[in-house]
Amino acid sequence: MSAAPDHRPTFAAVSLSDRIGKAMPYLLIPLLVVVGFFAIGSSSSWLTLTVSGLAMGMMIFIMASGLTLVFGLMDVINFGHGAFISVGAFVGITVLLALSGWTGVPSLALNVAAVILAALAAMLATGVLGWAFERVIVRPVYGAHLKQILVTVGGLIVIEQLIHVFWGPDEIFLTRPETLKGAFTFWGAAIEKFRLLAVVFGLALFAAMLLVLKRTRIGLIVRAGVQNGEMVQALGYRLKLVFIGVFIAGSALAGLGGVMWGLYQEVITAGMGAEMMILVFIVVIIGGLGSVEGAFIGALMVGLLQNYIAFLEPKLALISNIGLMTAILMWRPQGMLPVVKAK
């Protein structure tokens, strides 16, 4: 074997502005929180709105994370993702209603067990639905964006109508399990218990996703596949299998998000997924297509901004997220944390 070659290794120069620019998206959330504090003035209102915004952001992140990976891995635009949110909500809430004996008593253990069972049922149903959706609807249109949009929107409509067939045309109202109802007071602010639970759960899920993506081989394959799927295959990995796994996991997460969103709003409709898709797409786009961390930051920003603006200037709340997306894309046209894809 040869001796070490004689040249001095150096890094390609990375300028200070590049380094700061890379970290900037992570700083936007604390920045937004601080700006919100001064704009709102009242610390108790600010705290209530912040927890509410973070909770909303976490739930949107749960729904968006699968979609961004699906797009990043296989370049698939899936408008049918909203159907998984609705189906998840209906399946989960049906289980919760069936377990009313557990949810109607003030027992934290029984309440949490019921919610966990509902979430698992929703994830199972939407995971299976996602698998079928990929095989029947998405697989024939790989590489054809226009067809993907058309057939996945068609899939969304069909599934929405099937929800009407199975659960009827009306919205379903529900109440949260006893111990998750109401709020507690902290620092003069009313904090809803469910919102706090959503924040904690969302953070735990994000941490778990990062752990899988950064510390496991399958995570490594997914991250590499988002960047350069062709090369991952040339190394010997069957990317289509990985993609199907991610599609199923992403569908299941959307279903989980649907259950949580149903509990948050205390009402579910067949069209709730399609409605949420506007926010989900905004999050995926401003986060950077294919980036889970970008989706996380984007979701929190969307949640926080919507809550702050709704308090400060209610009339602007509807356009706040479009405004945010416009501003982010003017600053970074590829989104905040874009994945560098192979050409």
């Binding site: 040869s2 070659p5 890094f11 590499a224 560098v340 192979a342």
Partner: protein, 240 residues
Amino acid sequence: MSDPILRLSGVHTDIAQYHILQGVDLDVPRGGVTMLLGRNGVGKTTTLRTIIGHWQARSGTIHFDGADITAMPTASRARAGIGFVPEDMGIFTDLTVEENMVLAAISGPLDRKRLDWIFTAFPPLRTFWKSEAGNLSGGQKQMLSIARAMAEERKLYLIDEPTKGLAPAIISTMARALRDLKAQGASILLVEQNFAVAKALGDTAAVMEDGRITWTGAMAELAADTALQDRLIGLSMEAS
């Protein structure tokens, strides 16, 4: 003479409406370096991409190590023992050098002895082991690209222009590493525009023109005949 490790017979490949490979017949012998030479745009890269499966051959057959791999997916070809270093290097820039290498070891953890050999050939990879690959210089990325193919023993290495755009010091590093690989008995199909490197490394050569192999023979024969070089590939002006 033993069976070739790779045999392409009448391979045609289309890219969109373009008919790029127009009946490629090529044998790559076991052991040693086969140079795939030719002017720009004659189909060298497409040949390598067709062998690894990124482009599907429209007709013709590809046999690797005795098995017909023409219809095999890319991943199965790689698992059968083909290592691929693409022209654009295919580095996962958001991953660290270590993660790039770990990913390349498909059958298990990285072999320590092999890794030491790679570090000896490419010392910067040890230095920047925990660093993001996107921050490496162009030469270092090329080292990583080749090192990744070397992470496990492969029966055949397809390497596309490993010295393209690199400084002379890095080119000699690359050449040394490829010579090491060759000394270990590896079979290499190498596309290379740098004729000095081709001359130093190649055992056999195949020259492409307009999507076909038009000349095959010993590299030494081609290297010694400037008129032949000029006629086949217009290389004599670049030769050093």
